[in-house]
């Protein structure tokens, strides 16, 4: 009987199991939330859906999204990186300063990104090898990075950058805006790293149970060091885009960006305690923040009130996702 009865329903039940599987992934509810907010914004505002506005939205969101990609790794391992905003500013001003001093553009960019990676690794050494809590380490280095950027620039923006440099923030390649393209590249790399490499699996394992991972013969400290180096790197890449878009190195850029990045990761369905999350969820989370920023701007909501609304929506979203996830 069961044989016969199950046959006609096979395709439907497999669709159902697939839906069930989808629902269990951490991106499911963030994606629903994104769609709901997106539709709401489109209904409220006729200018929201225009192509130019959508491109603008994605371009604006790309910087937080790129920082949040690195932040995802830190949070996935049960850590956090508060130093991303200042590291972004430090790398950006360094690139600007080097170019103004006559260093060729590719070399300046490479050095800027390397300094971001090195600063991240500096965080990583304290977290991974000295066993200090990431929140404390990066809180301290947050101040250090900001201070270094201010010392380097004397507190003034660095302008007078070569015109070619505008390409990374304002240019297009194959018809796509560079910031969006870079963001897609970062997420593609992140997706492969987390989903399809041993390193990615170790990061989940460390967040799930660090001691068990270590006792299984995995050199946990090295992977933690890598995580913070990568977080510094993505911050530096964000610094490249911002500096290029503004065509000046701003030592005070990125204030509060760490909070937006953390919000994007958590809105994307990651557990703040580690071990659970998906890089694509973070992208959804960052875009959700972008839609909110953009939509509220279009509606002419005062920036002060925008902060309140964004905060409330984050609370609501996380409340719902905690209720729903098993």
């Amino acid at each position: 009987m069961s044989q016969l009865a199950s046959k006609p329903g096979t395709s439907r039940s497999s669709f159902k199991t697939r839906l069930d599987g989808w629902r269990r992934t951490p991106v499911f509810y963030p994606l629903i939330g994104f769609i709901v907010v997106f539709i709401a914004m489109a209904l409220i505002n006729e200018n929201f859906l225009t192509a130019s506005n959508q491109i603008n939205l994605a371009r604006q969101a790309s910087i937080i999204a790129i920082i949040a990609a690195g932040m995802s790794l830190a949070i996935l391992t049960g850590g956090i990186d508060l130093s991303v905003g200042p590291v972004m500013a430090l790398s950006g001003t360094l690139m600007a300063g080097l170019m103004v001093a006559g260093v060729p553009m590719p070399v300046a960019i490479l050095l800027g990104v390397l300094v971001g990676a090195a600063f991240g690794a500096f965080n990583g050494v304290f977290v991974a090898f000295a066993g200090m809590p990431p929140i404390i380490v990066t809180l301290a280095t947050m101040g250090i990075a900001r201070g270094l950027g201010l010392i380097y620039t004397g507190g003034y923006p660095i302008s007078g950058l070569p015109a070619d440099f505008a390409f990374f923030g304002r240019g297009t390649l194959a018809g796509i805006e560079m910031p969006i393209l870079i963001m897609i590249a970062v997420y593609a790399i992140g997706y492969v790293l987390l989903g399809h490499t041993a390193t990615g699996r170790y990061l989940y394992a460390i967040g799930g149970n660090e001691e068990a991972t270590r006792l299984s013969g995995i050199r946990v400290s090295r992977y933690k060091l890598l995580v913070y180096a990568l977080s510094g790197t993505t911050a530096a890449i964000a610094g490249l885009i911002l500096t290029s878009r503004l065509m000046s190195g701003q030592p005070n850029a990125g204030i509060g960006f760490e909070l937006d990045a953390i919000a994007a990761v958590v809105l994307g369905g990651a557990a703040i305690t580690g071990g659970r999350g998906m890089i694509l969820g973070t992208l959804v989370g960052a875009m959700l923040l972008g839609v909110l920023n953009n939509g509220l701007n279009l509606m002419g909501v005062s920036p002060y009130l925008q902060n309140v609304i964004k905060g409330l929506i984050i609370l609501l979203a996380i409340y719902i996702s905690r209720k729903r996830t098993p």
């Binding site: 006792l215 013969g217 995995i218 659970r276």
Partner: protein, 500 residues
Amino acid sequence: MTPLLSLQHISKSFPGVKALTDVSLDVHAGEVHALLGENGAGKSTLMKILCGIYQQDEGDILIDGEVRHFHGYQDALEAGVGIIFQEFSLIPDLDAVDNIFLGREKRNRFGLRDRSAMAREAQHLLERLKVSIPLNCPIAELSVADQQFIEIAKALSLDARLLVLDEPTATLTPSEADHLFAIMRELREQAVGMVFISHHMEEIFTICDRVTVMRDGEKVHDCETAATTPDDLIEKMVGRRVDNIFPDYRCDAVWDDVVLDIESLRLEAESPEHSLKLHRGEILGFAGLVGSGRTELAMGLIGATRPAHASVKMEGRPVRLRHPASALKQGIGLLPESRKTQGLILPFSCRDNISLNNLSQFQGTLPLISRRQESLAAEKLMASVRVKAPGPETAVGDLSGGNQQKVVIARWLGHQCKVLIFDEPTRGIDVGAKSEIYALMKELTAKGVSIIMISSELPEVLGLCDRAAVFYHGQIAAELQGDDLSSQSIMHHATGGLSL
């Protein structure tokens, strides 16, 4: 006479599983009632219903003959039900007094915390248990047994008349367990009813008046303890007769082939020096009391902790083991003492847990993992250790303790390990799964793997090991073999040669 507690026809379902079917249980005042059953038999679910953590679908809870409804633990506490969980609910940095009165501190007439009144009452409670525990020291510094006694005192201070003790002896030494039993007898005199959950038959026959056996969510048997035998109870538990849970003894050791030679190892500069040899195909037991330094030596050996000095040879070659990763490279694996906190990645599937440290096997030229190959390998390993799970994608947290342990074992079978260290491999595991794990260990030794088994259970050491090192106060007090390997000789050396 109205029973103190009467659970009547309790049924409970979870999505997809019928956890309890029509279970009834009476506990009288001054009775110690054993609740027996394999893992997954429904004991914990029943106790969680009794404590208001779950609500039953059908059936009633009666206290003193009155139907009560528990919607949370608080309701159960108010009705006089106290539970001592396996994982204690004490705050490690607070002392005994503060822990006992946590959340309901006594106040003096100025509304301030009245420490001396609380200390007096705590002292009184501990006297009632006939134990002496320092009141002013953070409980993290006390022994596990003392912590447990404080838990009991805390329950009594809440006027508990029914205590549930969930495997209280699992982490106690034999003498501490005896102390616990003395306390339980004292409480029995004071008309406290107790539900006692344990996997140890001898404890049940030492302390319990009645016993209820559960299997697959149903009550299959209850009787006076005096009217039954251990064999009888085991048969009721597993639904079949288990004559001998150990595989037939067979020595696979090749005595002239030393695989692992610990020439000298000192954990700390001042601590005693260990030296030990492990032969091919041997099962070497690390016997001794809890805290006698067995786990510490194993952890130091594989480099999970940094020993002050280590000179170790693997198959004649000197090796430096500074991290579990280097131990793994040399073919030494450790299955840690605590499955949940040290062994498994609980949010992971069985497959991801098993392949955790052999992912490189599934990479091609690019460092990308082939999920298909990984799943196939995991399925094969799961079959070889007989994990009972719907498939490799099953979340490891959903498995019973025995199956979880098999998953940890499977992880190490993906490597060609020469030495495996099993730290308390059968703790909290039911009889059937224990027997399977023993059989697996013998299968390994037959293939030439050498095993160190840390175990606090004497029958296990006697039934399985070819040789045993007995630890006392961080030192190897004796190495026993052949006719010298007996429970008397192990206990003699494990207790410092003082008692027999």
